[in-house]
Symmetry: C2
Subunit: 414 residues, 2 copies
């Protein structure tokens, strides 16, 4: 009998976890990704702010799955799904047959209908994004050091982070650390303390997904680091010379987008209902309506958690979904189908505010300050793949912690 063919698209947290949990299930698995590596996105902001190198938080997919003879890995871009023919189509025009299909294609940036802002306000989803943001931040200080115009220097020294979720909070805190603790000793003409770091959030508080007391603690910690936190204000334009916040023009060389995401086009490929941000609406077993052999998981699916709230776009949620669908597929392959509804278990929320400060919300306990920072560090080290990355990242962090010299401050050449 021919083996059951499982095609998985996307080697992020959801897709990779699914494939890992299908070990020994007897399926012929094809894992397709546009990139040759799995990226540990929760630490991507550290690559953007030069504490870590991208290679410390990215692993070749082939290496991660090298022992899995049942998995074939393809570097390729999926452009469509033909449900009737049971194939996915790739950008080069070729097709792959599936018996079971799992789409775990994640999210992209969304500029709320203003795609023209994209070149001026890069977001942070890929290693290339992190490099672009790192180059902009570091170049701003270098250009300011050489500038003789007070006006030009002020724009170079203005950093605008749009969006007060964990990524925005983390980026703003790290830029403040660069300006106020790493750089003062390294620049001779420029007073790097003159850096203005604006964190702009349209909602009423930072970290909307956390307990309000932690939102307040994060804001206080950022303000101690001289970050200007602007709540209830929106960016209304974004150009090569800066942004407009509400009605005020703010000249700024560096603008970073941490505000909105939109699902990848998985729902469109499948022609199934989606929510406002494009996420495929799936059934409680994470399959699409009327097609129990096609699943959508991770950030590109709208999944409801306990109480009906949507499951958040966090790495643990994605991994739980991958694990759940692996169980469903295994049951199917054993000829004993079983599909209890997916249940999300929230393990907590964590965000750092520069070095040595963080907020952690585990529901039963909330932490702030240096204790939260240590918890955050240990948790993240634990979830990195492989002993080598754990040692390398721990080394980078200890070094930066002890010396205040993040060492990956390399401006790439074009």
């Amino acid at each position: 009998m021919a083996k059951h063919e499982v095609v998985v698209v996307g080697a992020g947290f959801a897709g990779l976890q699914l494939v890992k949990k299908l070990r020994g299930a007897g399926a012929a698995i094809t894992l397709i990704d546009r990139r040759n590596h799995h990226l540990f996105q929760p630490l991507l902001y550290q690559a953007a702010t030069s504490v870590l190198s991208t290679t410390e938080i990215a692993w070749p997919i082939r290496q991660v799955l090298r022992d899995r003879q049942d998995v074939s890995i393809e570097l390729g871009e999926v452009t469509d799904v033909d449900r009737a023919a049971r194939t996915v189509r790739l950008a080069d025009g070729t097709e792959r047959h599936f018996d079971t299909l799992v789409l775990a294609t994640g999210v992209e940036h969304a500029y709320f209908g203003h795609d023209e802002w994209r070149p001026f306000a890069p977001g942070l989803k890929t290693g290339a994004d992190a490099a672009k943001i790192r180059n902009r931040i570091l170049s701003a200080f270098e250009l300011a050091e050489r500038s003789d115009s007070a006006e030009a220097r002020a724009a170079l020294m203005t950093f605008v982070v749009v969006g007060g979720g964990p990524t925005g909070v983390e980026l703003a805190g790290m830029i403040a650390d660069l300006a106020h603790s790493t750089f003062p000793r390294e620049f001779r003409r420029l007073d790097t303390h003159s850096a203005r770091i604006l964190l702009v959030e349209a909602g009423p508080r930072l970290l909307a997904a956390f307990d309000p007391r932690l939102s307040a603690a994060a804001q206080a910690a950022l303000e101690r680091r001289r970050v200007d936190v602007l709540l209830g204000e929106a960016v209304t334009s974004c150009t090569a010379v800066g942004v407009t916040i509400a009605d005020r023009p703010v000249p700024a060389h560096t603008v970073i987008w941490a505000a909105g995401v939109a699902a990848s086009p998985a729902a469109r490929w499948l022609d199934v209902p989606a929510d406002g941000s494009g996420r495929a609406i799936v059934l409680p077993d994470l399959a699409i309506p009327d097609d129990p052999a096609i699943f959508v998981i991770g950030d590109t699916a709208l999944v409801h958690g306990p109480g009906g709230a949507p499951v958040p776009g966090l790495a643990p949620a994605a991994k739980q979904q991958g694990e759940y669908v692996a169980r469903v597929i295994r049951a199917q392959l054993r000829g004993r189908p079983s599909r209890p509804p997916f249940r999300y278990r929230h393990q907590g929320s964590l965000a750092t505010i520069g070095h040595r400060a963080a907020v952690a919300d585990f529901g039963w306990i909330r932490l702030t300050g240096w204790l939260a920072w240590w918890v955050w560090g240990i948790v993240h080290i634990f979830f990195l793949i492989g002993a080598r990355s754990r040692v390398a990242v721990a080394l980078s962090w200890l070094w930066t912690y002890a010396k205040g010299q993040p060492s990956a401050r390399i401006i790439d050449e074009e």
Copy 2:
């Protein structure tokens, strides 16, 4: 009294060593570089073959010199020197005054008058070059895995390295290691042992600067790794589909240029005599004729060693020149000018052939095989800047040595 202004252009081995050795000399030093980082070029081929990440062998110049209040660092590109006005001109049109000028601007690739080959055969001088080569090598295997055409696959699996000096030998050996030890377990359809690695050298032997017995040992070690060593043959054309070696067309997806270098335009800026590859011809005190306050050092100068042979373009030679000129400048500043002729002390030549094999030529002793490899590793760890890099690189090497899984195998996105 105004301080004596020393302008140093280039923060490679020569320029950085000079600045280090001017500590406490009482000069006002300006160090100008196009890049914000010093690059450890002897290990760049490891970044190109994904053993190390570029950040492990690059250091922000400001960090290296953070304690030097007498040094001002500028990220900028020098485009000319006005000897009469005693200024250097930058690309943005501004100028910097000098009392003493030291040009240490290094070399660039030279394609023997065939600049049209450049896009098809990248060379290896910068971090960006290393990324480009790494992306090409890794993409070749990925595309071959997916290719259904035997002809296309053969071209994808052909890697041509042009030039049999240390860089060429090292690159060929590392590509062979990827094909024959790292990748066989990671690809499912592709037989990665089918890779053809050609090392093309126009001269009669590899590693012309080494003892002939070591050239033979390096060749034998490469051939054991199934590298085809072609001696006395030249590449006569280079296009998007491959190269022509002598008269034979060789379809190849990946061609790497490790053959020729030309000096940066320092001699042209100064309007002084240069040799055939553009190196400024300097006096025994490394100053230019008729202008004892302008020095040219490192790979962009033609310096004669003991016996009249040109000093080789090696890191230790560049550092010795930087140190020498620092002594000359210090003597001048103390009002006791002293310019004994520069004397080059050759410390030895080292080259690796993939993992666990190398050749080392110290003159008084020659080593090959694993012993040479350990000596090579320890020497290079020792010369890296800072404890953090030493630990990080040692960790990467030990990991690769033990597991055969170089971990920086990340294909960048455009």
